[in-house]
Symmetry: C2
Subunit: 345 residues, 2 copies
């Protein structure tokens, strides 16, 4: 492949106040950068879009530094090596990188990981076999610690994290109750083998949840917050564990909701029911659990006990709209932008 001469990329142009809009992003076209010694030039094939990116758009203390204004939006990517100045990688190699929202990126060779296209579709490296899958695995098994016969409830259950959480819960012998928005997602969760799947948009949602958990809830994997959490909290059993992975319903909040202040009631529930509420991001568990995850997940996919769905959007131009839609729950499956041709498919 000849070296290309221009790179289209998407910058953070302004910080959102509340819900992000297309105006927060800016496209630009710049020359393709040249790799230095020890670096590689990468062509983006797939760009992962994930809810955590909403947090990076804020200028607030979070678990990671914000994206600077005028900088390329960050994100995990699956790329083809176009040019290599490192002996460990060659043009044509397919790698997992953190190239961001752009067509080309330069990265140190040691910061990318070579993928084996014969092992699994390469897009899964940012999905079920990548960060979202590992988030589900580590959060559920290390914090949630479901025991056989226990009840695990997961929010945003049709998403790449939630669908994996529910399926691993079942693999471990627990009951899995999934909560999602919309009939198509609920139907898919039933197809995946969730014991119960509930639509949080239903007017009878609270009653539906109560009926779905006759023995209460032992593990609640939190992705959303809001009215789903409000319905779950009263049903948590003594010693229940709550891995807090995301709070997508609150990401666009610009001010605190009206009162009364229920924070002391939340603390009282934690006290009187000996609850464990534990925030996390997957980085924390990489060194201790990533290898086991790769082996377990590959085995479960091979034997059919772990299934996944991808929502692939064509073209970098569509990344902002796809991202904004995801924050409203409009995607169905792991949201990935196909930025360039996939030579493996």
């Amino acid at each position: 492949m000849s070296t290309p001469d221009h790179n289209t990329r998407i910058l953070l142009d302004s910080r959102p106040h509340g819900e992000p809009t297309p105006d927060n992003f800016r496209f630009e076209t710049v020359p393709v950068p040249a790799p230095a010694e020890g670096e590689v030039l990468l062509r983006t094939i797939y760009l992962s879009l994930d809810p955590y990116m909403r947090g990076r758009m804020n200028d607030a203390k979070s678990y990671a530094a914000p994206v600077e204004l005028g900088a390329v939006m960050e994100g995990g990517t699956v790329c083809e090596v176009v040019e290599s100045r490192d002996p460990g990688l060659a043009p044509g190699d397919i790698v997992l990188a953190h190239g961001g929202w752009q067509e080309y990126a330069v990265a140190p060779a040691r910061q990318v990981r070579r993928l084996d296209p014969a092992r699994a579709p390469i897009s899964t490296a940012v999905g079920v076999l990548g960060m979202p899958g590992f988030t589900a695995y580590a959060g559920l098994l290390e914090i949630g610690r479901p025991q056989p016969g226990e009840t695990v409830v997961v929010a945003a259950a049709a998403g790449p994290v939630g669908s994996t959480v529910g399926q691993i819960a079942r693999i471990k012998g627990a009951r899995a109750v999934g909560i999602a928005g919309g009939a198509d997602k609920v139907a898919w969760l039933e197809e995946l083998g969730f014991d119960v799947a509930l639509d949080h948009r239903s007017p009878t949602f609270r009653d539906d949840l109560e009926a779905a958990v006759p023995d209460g809830i032992d593990v609640y994997f939190e992705n959303v917050g809001g009215h789903v959490w409000d319905a779950v909290l009263p049903r948590l059993n003594t010693y229940a564990r709550v891995p807090v992975c995301g709070l997508v319903s609150h990401y666009n909040e610009t001010e605190l909701p009206a009162g009364p202040d229920r924070s002391s009631r939340l603390m009282t529930a934690i006290l009187t029911r000996s609850l464990t509420v534990r925030g996390f991001i997957q980085n924390e568990f990489v060194s201790s659990h990533y290898k086991a995850f790769q082996a377990d997940a590959a085995g479960w996919i091979a034997d059919g006990s772990l299934r996944y769905k991808e929502d692939i959007v064509a073209g970098l131009d569509n990344a902002p709209d796809a991202f904004l839609g995801m924050l409203k729950g409009q995607n169905f499956g792991k949201l990935v932008v196909q930025v360039g041709a996939d030579p493996t498919s």
Copy 2:
């Protein structure tokens, strides 16, 4: 000792609405009960008064069943065996029991534990060597897990739990910051060797706390809630642990505080800083840790690294007022009612 003929006891007469009052209690005098086969008749020497008892006065789901209306208020006691119908105990033995707010109680012999008066003052069996001491030990070491050099902050630090938490934190090589109400309690914490002691009633409390934790807070042992928790939360470090042992400032709440609703902000802090917030009561850890606690605590008391203070009130008649005062922070040291003569002192 001849068998006595009447027993004065204190019943729960009505449930408090908000702050309890003396009217919630009722004294009555009844015949002393007779022990059945396998039981002992106990004379109360010391009655422990503890904040958890406030929760038992409510008719609400908590970690233990409420005290029934018309039933004797429950509580841990140190007693002398007056009459025994069990071969394992003899009159004159001193035992730890759960005899409640009364002069005499009957209990199955297997539910009491014989104390060795030569080992420690027998009142410590409901204090530093008993439930409060074990609460501090298990909550700090199993949930807080302080590492050398980390900063541990404890609320209600002059109480029997808090003062033990801070001293064990220092034994384990952590910095201990104690928060208490009033200059006398602050002075005592400094005497105990806390690195910093703060008065939460001071108008400069928030600034004082900020200055006291230049490296943030790694463990916060929660006993109180309210404005102390509000000052602590923004200073918790990534991966901080919060054992939630009590929320005494909220026990008398009859309705939720006015808004805005800060519960989503609390969950966001848990998420973005990978916090662990974990409610507990000591029962959970008895089988796994009680023996180690007894050995460790006795050793620390013997070598002077663990000190304690008792606030002994004379006479069962004064139990209700002493209890109500404790809920307002008026005691100083482990609150114990001396109900009858102590033959060991």
